[in-house]
């Protein structure tokens, strides 16, 4: 990355350095428009934009299969629940490095925080498609009082807690990422201040994450009759929290694998053996946590005395999740650590991520309203919008990683240790 040191003086110079990354604009745009990845994702984005118009002119009925019995579908089940769980990497790595002093993982902090920030940001974007009146999103933050003149703080609602936390945490993650942005823009003084804030922000971020990851599970405590008893448990906040930590760790592993393929020029200086050691270290933590999670889930079944339900179709499905997507990845991670095989750990991270997605979908969609005969299945437009939102996230991630010091240390700002 040819970063010009010193701040560019004209906006043209700024554009050339910061946006075109010192390529000729013609070459830059030619490359943008001819890459197969861009063409495919470009089509997805065009379709998504059209569907966005349809969603906000024709309503939810025209774009989703939601009903009065299934008020939440793919956009909540996947975009929000899975999005938040898988974006937990930022807080997991952040707390490991800054709180528990595991400094050897520091090269993972920035990519993890960027994923966390963008993950949450696009969770909110996805949520806006699902909300009936998304422009009222600021109501629970106090805007409701200003607009309606009456109290609009639903303090009895777990959703209120989730909403506030996601808003504050989004800001915190933005602050945590600011140093990278200021390094990119060569703002030395701002960066110095941003770093001061980073330390406090990390601690605050850990608290916020712990609270809302579990609160997302607590949302379903009110739906006792609707979530299948094998998935419903008073412990569901604990389940959501632990599985989110595992999901965050696995996403960090998975992502570092992708980054090494996609952005290899930026990680050229990384020692592959050290990268493998980090991945194996994360795999070890994930394995231990998955085992804890596996045991706790059974305590949940025992607590509700639902053993008889295991011998039903939903019970078999529960066993598939528990053994295929919790115990199996747990053992594979352990095996990968034992054999010091980073590739096995990387493979397992994919399986684990799928397992977390399966769990969130099971709670919110697949087993939801399990005793009704009518089942909800998302309409193609719901899938298309979800893919659209994820693609927007990928584009933003790529744009930032290509320009800002995320995967490498900025030459002008060496880490001081």
């Amino acid at each position: 990355m040819a970063e010009c040191s010193g701040r560019p003086t004209t906006w043209k110079a700024w554009l050339a350095g910061k946006w075109y990354m010192d390529q000729a604009p013609g070459d830059y745009w030619r490359a943008v428009f001819t890459s197969p990845f861009n063409i495919i994702t470009g089509i997805i984005i065009c379709v998504g934009l059209v569907l966005t118009v349809v969603r906000f002119t024709q309503g939810l009925e025209a774009t989703t299969n939601l009903t009065n019995d299934y008020p939440w579908g793919l956009w909540i089940g996947f975009d929000v629940l899975c999005g938040v769980a898988l974006a937990a990497g930022g807080f997991v790595i952040g707390s490991a490095v800054h709180l528990f002093g595991m400094h050897r993982y520091h090269s993972l902090v920035r990519p993890a925080i960027l994923t966390g920030f963008l993950g949450y940001f696009f969770v909110v974007v996805g949520l806006c498609f699902d909300l009936g009146r998304p422009w009222r999103l600021p109501y629970p933050m106090g805007a409701g009082y200003v607009v309606t003149g009456s109290n609009s703080f639903g303090v009895t609602s777990v959703m209120f807690l989730v909403g506030w936390h996601v808003a504050v945490y989004l800001t915190v993650q933005f602050l945590e990422f600011c140093p990278a942005v200021f390094e990119w823009l060569d703002r030395k003084t701002l960066r110095k201040w941003a770093i001061r804030i980073t330390i406090g922000a990390t601690v605050f971020g850990v608290i916020l994450s712990t609270l809302h990851q579990s609160a997302l599970g607590a949302l379903f405590l009110l739906a006792e009759g609707k979530v299948h008893p094998l998935w419903y448990s008073p412990f569901i906040p604990v389940f959501f929290f632990i599985s989110a930590v595992v999901g965050g760790l696995s996403m960090v592993i998975f992502e570092s694998m992708l980054s090494h393929r996609v952005f290899h020029s930026q990680v050229a200086h990384h020692d592959p053996a050290e990268a493998d050691r980090l991945v194996i270290g994360l795999g070890k933590a994930a394995s231990v946590l998955l085992f804890t999670y596996f045991c706790l889930k059974w305590i949940g079944v025992a607590d509700g005395q639902h053993w008889d339900l295991l011998n039903t179709p939903y019970g078999y499905w529960f066993l598939v999740e528990m053994f295929g997507f919790v115990l199996l990845p747990c053992l594979l991670y352990a095996l990968g650590v034992r054999r010091q095989s980073a590739s096995l750990v990387r493979f397992t991270s994919v399986l684990t991520v799928l397992g977390i997605v399966l769990n969130r979908l099971n709670v919110s969609i697949i087993t939801f309203q399990w005793n009704l005969e009518d089942r909800y299945f998302p309409r193609w437009t719901e899938f298309a919008i979800t893919v659209f939102v994820v693609t927007l996230g990928l584009w933003t991630f790529r744009f930032m990683v290509n320009r800002m010091p995320v995967l490498y240390d900025h030459p002008d700002y060496p880490p001081e240790h």
Binding site: L60, N68, G101, G132, T156, K226, P415
Partner: protein
């Protein structure tokens, strides 16, 4: 929906577990919040539904639609019994439905049983507790009402309601609302605050409007004086902490056969509100935790300069 029968002991056990879970979402204080679970005031109004008296004429549906400005079925449509072929639930454009269930008794004497469905107007409503902007309110006089101007359309109220009552105007792109029976207390309703339209119109004295306490006394009096006519349970007396709508079933029929859910007596919001109270009323647990983590960090960092360097990476 699931049949949950939460015994008192089972509930306490679960409440304890939630306390444990709550320590993640912010330690739940042990302080009982029972005071907030108590039914609305003594003057709270409700409706007693005498199911054995219902003849399935659906006049209440027509009256409700009219009072709320929905499309009103014609006399012919009301006579058409084929609507009973499938189970209908209240929707965004009809707040109440009458469904038919096979009756007890033998041979020619067997006659179908009709059950009116609508919002129960719970004493401790899950929909009120769930709403992120407080768009749902339980009035002291009984009704559970909705302020459309606050609602942002997250539909958590629909997820939370144990009876699956609230419905949504999915077909409305810009100003969708949650819709449900208002006990005729909504603005613009000609019966606002008085006897509900459905009660007024019922030709068979199947519906009685009155103070909930009086209705309960009346229900038990009926059970006592006509033991051959009524089942002994009053649905809504204790379910989910009590509801404003109360139901009497015919002898020999169980409420479950009539489409009622078997629910515990504990109000569902009890659990989640413990957690919320822990956080918003006594901000201590999160603050204590913040302090603790801060301390850990302080100890973990070798010296200020090095920590600065690491923080940036």
């Amino acid at each position: 929906m699931v049949i949950v029968n939460v015994s008192r002991r089972g509930f306490l056990k679960k409440a304890g577990a939630v306390g444990l879970g709550g320590s993640l979402v912010g330690l739940a204080p042990d302080k009982a919040i029972a005071s907030e679970v108590i039914a609305a005031s003594d003057d709270s109004m409700g409706v007693l539904v005498d199911i054995p008296n219902c003849i399935g004429c659906r006049e209440c549906e027509a009256a409700c639609n009219e009072a709320n400005g929905f499309e009103v079925p014609t006399e012919e449509e009301l006579k058409d019994k084929s609507v009973f072929a499938e189970h209908r639930r209240p929707g965004p454009h009809n707040h109440t439905t009458v469904n038919q269930f096979p009756g007890g008794g033998d041979g020619v004497e067997a006659r179908p049983i009709y059950v009116k469905a609508n919002c129960f107007h719970c004493n401790k409503p899950a929909c009120v507790s769930a709403c992120i902007v407080g768009a749902f309110r339980k009035l002291e006089s009984g009704p559970v009402v909705y302020d459309a101007w606050k609602c942002m359309g997250c539909r958590y109220c629909m997820v939370a309601c144990p009876f699956g009552i609230p419905t949504y105007e999915y077909d409305n792109p810009l100003t969708p609302q949650v819709r449900k029976c208002t006990l005729c207390s909504n603005e613009g309703n000609p019966n606002k605050g008085g006897v509900p339209a459905c009660v007024k119109t019922c030709p068979k004295e199947c519906l009685t409007y009155g103070k909930r306490n009086d209705l309960l006394a009346r229900a038990h009096e009926k059970i006592r004086s006509e033991p051959d006519a009524y089942a002994t349970h009053v649905y809504g007396e204790h379910e989910v902490g009590g509801t404003s709508w109360l139901y009497l079933a015919p002898k020999g029929a169980s409420f479950e056969e009539l489409g009622f859910l078997k629910l515990g007596t504990a109000p569902p919001p009890l659990r989640t509100e413990r957690i919320q109270h822990g956080i918003f009323k006594y901000f201590i647990p999160p603050l204590a935790w913040y302090g603790l983590l801060g301390a850990v960090m302080w100890v973990a960092r070798p010296n200020a300069d090095a920590a600065m360097g690491k923080a940036e990476s």
